[in-house]
Structures are given as structure tokens and as C-alpha cells.
């Protein structure tokens, strides 16, 4: 089975994130970048499917600046076999629709083809939460999203989808796209052997031209939507702080009453 995993490098949610004042895009230099946690789970799900299906191969597909290489290496050191990385200055500022189109083109160009595409359900930075489904729609394959469980059996994929609204069981014939939620698994740590092996695994870095994507279809200037202004919200300032002297609870109650909150 040929498995493709989409990964994305995002700013660490434990560090403070900034928007670039000049064009309203994410200031990716300002923060530590990490392999998005949910992507590690997608990689883990891919590796588990590979282990359950002899002769499978896992290809990592990523789009982003050069430093996305770290996230790709992490996925390879966990056990993925090879990677395709679309890296081109012209991609900067691409909107969700453009990003989905570029990813769909990239996935279609993976030479081993694909039976299943895995992705995290939602990146922690963009939070549009729709890119996996958008990619599936462009590929013309079913989207089985927010999977808490995924099994592949005889050419079809079954997913237990869990969201805030409830649990849905979905089924589809392969090829299909599956996005996973945080309950799917606990991702493995790369072993020393895995880290060493990752250094020899093939990573093909493509420019837009290499990938056959027209530069007029991507990037800030051609985006279908434009951020017209962005400003940091003035930080909330600290109010009153008191030491508890046995009446802390009563004092909070009095404050709530004074603010008409109870």
C-alpha cells in the first residue's frame, strides 16, 4: 500500500506567536518551529498502517520554507521512507485554497502514487481546519476527517470520526484521504537507529516549476483573500492582586458582586 502523509511545520504553541506587521502573514522567523503535534500522530498512523500491510511505503509530503526540513527529518527518523518537499519563495502568503491546490498537485505527482493520504485534522497555527478536506475534494477522493480510529481492510477504509458534535462511523473505498485527531495514537519517539537512517533517506526538494505549479496560482499577490490590516490587541492589564488571609474566597465573591457578575 502506498501511503502519503502531509506534514506542516508550525510555530511552537508554547512560544509567543507574531504576525508580520508588513503583510499580515505569520512571522515564521519569530518563533520556534516544530513538527505540528497532530502531524506526528498522522505519521504514526501511517507507520502503523505500513506495519500492518506488507510491502507498504510511506511518503512524506510537505510544503513550506527551507526550515521545514527539520520537520521532514523528524518524520523520516520516526520511520517514513521518503519525502517530497515543495519549497519556493513564491509560496509565501498563499491562502488556504492555493495551498490546497498546490498540495493536491504535489500528491498527484508522487511517483509511487497513493492509496491513502493521511494528515492531521487541523494545524495549530492556521486553524482553518479545512485543508485536508479541500485537498481530498481537489483529488476527487473521499475525505474521512477527524479520525479517532482508522482501519484498512480489503480495499476500503473505515474511520471512527469524533468531533465536538459526536461520533460518526465512516467508510469509503480507497484511494481516500484520512485526517486524524489527537486521540488516534501516541506517536513513537525516533530511535537512534531511526535518526541515523533518516539521514540517508531520499528527500526531493522541488521548486514550483519542478512540481509543475504555475507561480501565478500561488503566493500573497495572487491569494484569493488578503489580510488588509492586523494589529496586536493591547494586552489586558493586571487588576487587583491580594494575598489570601483566610478571606480570599469572600473577597472574590465581593468583587463579583461589585462587578454585577453574580
Amino acid at each position: 500500500m502506498n501511503i502519503v502523509v502531509l506534514i506542516k511545520q508550525v510555530p511552537d504553541t508554547y512560544s509567543e506567536r507574531k504576525l508580520d506587521g508588513s503583510d499580515g502573514t505569520l512571522d515564521r522567523e519569530a518563533t520556534d518551529a516544530v513538527l505540528d503535534e497532530i502531524n506526528e500522530r498522522a505519521v504514526e498512523a501511517a507507520l502503523q498502517l505500513k506495519e500492518a500491510n506488507d510491502g507498504s511505503e510511506v511518503t512524506v509530503v510537505a510544503m513550506g520554507p527551507d526550515r521545514a526540513t527539520d520537520a521532514i527529518r523528524k518524520a523520516l527518523s520516526m520511520g517514513a521512507d521518503k519525502a517530497v518537499h515543495l519549497s519556493d519563495e513564491a509560496l509565501h502568503g498563499s491562502c488556504a485554497v492555493q495551498t490546497s491546490k498546490a498540495l493536491a498537485t504535489l500528491i498527484s505527482s508522487v511517483d509511487s502514487g497513493y492509496d491513502i493520504v493521511l494528515a492531521g485534522n487541523e494545524a495549530s497555527d492556521g486553524r482553518s481546519g479545512a485543508v485536508p478536506a479541500m485537498v481530498a475534494d481537489l483529488l476527487g477522493v473521499p475525505a474521512l476527517t477527524h479520525a479517532r480510529e482508522v482501519t484498512v481492510e480489503g480495499g476500503s477504509v473505515n474511520v471512527t470520526r469524533e468531533t465536538d458534535d459526536g461520533v460518526t462511523k465512516l467508510t469509503a473505498e480507497l484511494p481516500a484521504l484520512v485526517s486524524v485527531n489527537e486521540k488516534i495514537n501516541e506517536p513513537r519517539y525516533p530511535s537512534f537507529k531511526g535518526i541515523m537512517a533518516a539521514k540517508k533517506k531520499p528527500v526531493s526538494t522541488l521548486s514550483l516549476a519542478d512540481a509543475g505549479i504555475d507561480a501565478s496560482q500561488v503566493g500573497l499577490a495572487n491569494a484569493l483573500s488578503t489580510v488588509t490590516s492586523s494589529q496586536p490587541k493591547p494586552p489586558k492589564s493586571a487588576g487587583e492582586k491580594v494575598e489570601d488571609e483566610g478571606d480570599g474566597g469572600s473577597k472574590i465573591a465581593a468583587y463579583l458582586v461589585s462587578q454585577k457578575l453574580v
Binding site: S100, A136, T168, L170, K236, V242, G248, I252
Partner: protein, 315 residues
Amino acid sequence: MAEVLVLVDHVEGEIKKSTYELLTAARGLGEPSAVVVGAAGTAGKLADGLKAHGAAKIYVAETDSTDFLTPQVAVLASLVESANPAAVLISVSADGKEIAGRLAVRTDSALLGDAVGVSPDGVTHSVFGGAYIAEAKANTDHPVITLRPGSIEIEQADGAGAEQSVEVPASSGRSATVTAREPLVGGDRPELTEASVVVSGGRGVGSAENFELVEKLADSLGAAVGASRAAVDSGYYPHQFQVGQTGKTVSPQLYIALGISGAIQHRAGMQTSKTIIAVNKDAEAPIFEIADYGVVGDLFKVAPQLQEEIVKRKS
């Protein structure tokens, strides 16, 4: 006046309040047309509510298809083509975001996701948990806009609600099939993201058993219960109640943080709350930087006392 398509959000024929927010927002952009996709008889049940919130037209696409979300996408895509609307409005939810994204790629429309406000000029976003306010505009016709529930105040208005039935077009791509559905059974507490009061516990709560204290205070206030990532990671409370960058974003009237240090990870999920109360034994905890009222002390003493006072006031 141009039509504005509003996808009606309903669970088995029960309307979600967010639909009325969308209809209210739609009136600022054009003439609202509600789009009902569901089993036969759904539109009949919802029509009165839709008319009372200004739906000039109600498109009715009734189907017993078990295709997953594809009927909604296909119906909206065909209406975008036939009605050339000023915009398509959809509520932010797992399904809503997915329908919106797929519709945007099918109709080559801008996707303005997770907006907290809309105007003819564009939308307003609250970014990184409210640390930034950004304005964005569409560069295409019929942008697809998703609106965060709770961001628009519902206003009633009379609408003609002229019903027009539409076919569910055959979809070009393949679709997943729904084989079973179990709607989430909510508890007695309000839903976290919709609650006007939230009481959250952090690492300082110390154990799953101790979370009872958080729950009791929450119940005295009719509040939802939240938890910090540290508390969830320590197994004190289930993940679906996590407030923070990798959990839910909440913006209640009142947020009470018990034993939460206030790492950026957490603040990003609650800093837009109107009033923030913090109880922490560490006087240097960053949560105090954004708290309107903070008590440096032992939450195991302060929280029960507060709860008692609240109960006393209510009786």
C-alpha cells in the same frame, strides 16, 4: 439586492442557534437565503424560525443520502452558480469548516475562515487566541465565510421565507458513506465554548479527584468546566475540556482560573474573556498579569469559600 446564502446548521431537524447569528450577519451583506440540506420534512420544521430571523428565501434540498457532507457541498456549489450570491455564510464547526473549504475549492472562491465579524468590506478575525485583530477581504466573487458561534448578537427580522426546492446534484468526486451516528450526549453543564461563565483548573488542582472542587464551584455559578493543558496531560480531566491554543478558545463574561499558572499556551485560549479571576499560590504566576482580580493563596481554601458565598447569595 444580492442574495447571501446561509447554510442552516441543524442536528436531526433541531436548529442550532448559530444559524440565527448567520442570518443576522447576512442582512448586513444582502438578502439572506437559508439553505436547508437534510432528510425529508426538515425544512418544514425549521421554516418558522428562519422566517423570524429574516430569511427571504429558503432553499430546500431534501435527501436521504448517506454521503458524508458531499450533499451540502454539492447543493451550495450549484446555488453559487445559479444565484451568484454576495457571500456564503457557514458556522464554524468541524462539519461547517469542512463544507466551507470544499465549497471554496469547487467554486474558486476566497475562504475567509473563523471570522468574528462581517461587513461588505470583509471580515474580522481574532488571531492567536485574541492576541491580534486582523481584517481580511476577498479577492473573488461569492466568498465563503465561516463565522465563529457566539460572535454575532442575534436580531429578529421578518423574512418572506419563500420556499424553493432544489435538487441535490450528483457529485463529481467520490464520497465517504456514513454507516452510524452517535450524537454527543451533553451533560447538565453548559457547552464550554458557549458558556457565559467558565471555571477552569490547572496543574495546581493536583489530581482527578480534586477536580470535583472545580466542578462544584462551576455548578454553583451555572458555569462550564475547563482545564489547562497541564491538567489534561496529567490525566486530571478529559481532553475535550482543554482550554488553550491546542484546545478550545473561550471568551466568556467571567473566567475563573484555579491553580493555572497562565502559560501562553493557556492564555491564548481565554485571554479575551471579559473578566478574569485567578487563584494561584505562586504570586509570580503569569496568569496574574491578565487577571482583573487575583488571589495569591491556596485554591483548596479559597475555592470552597467562594462557592459557599455564591450559594449563600443565591439562597
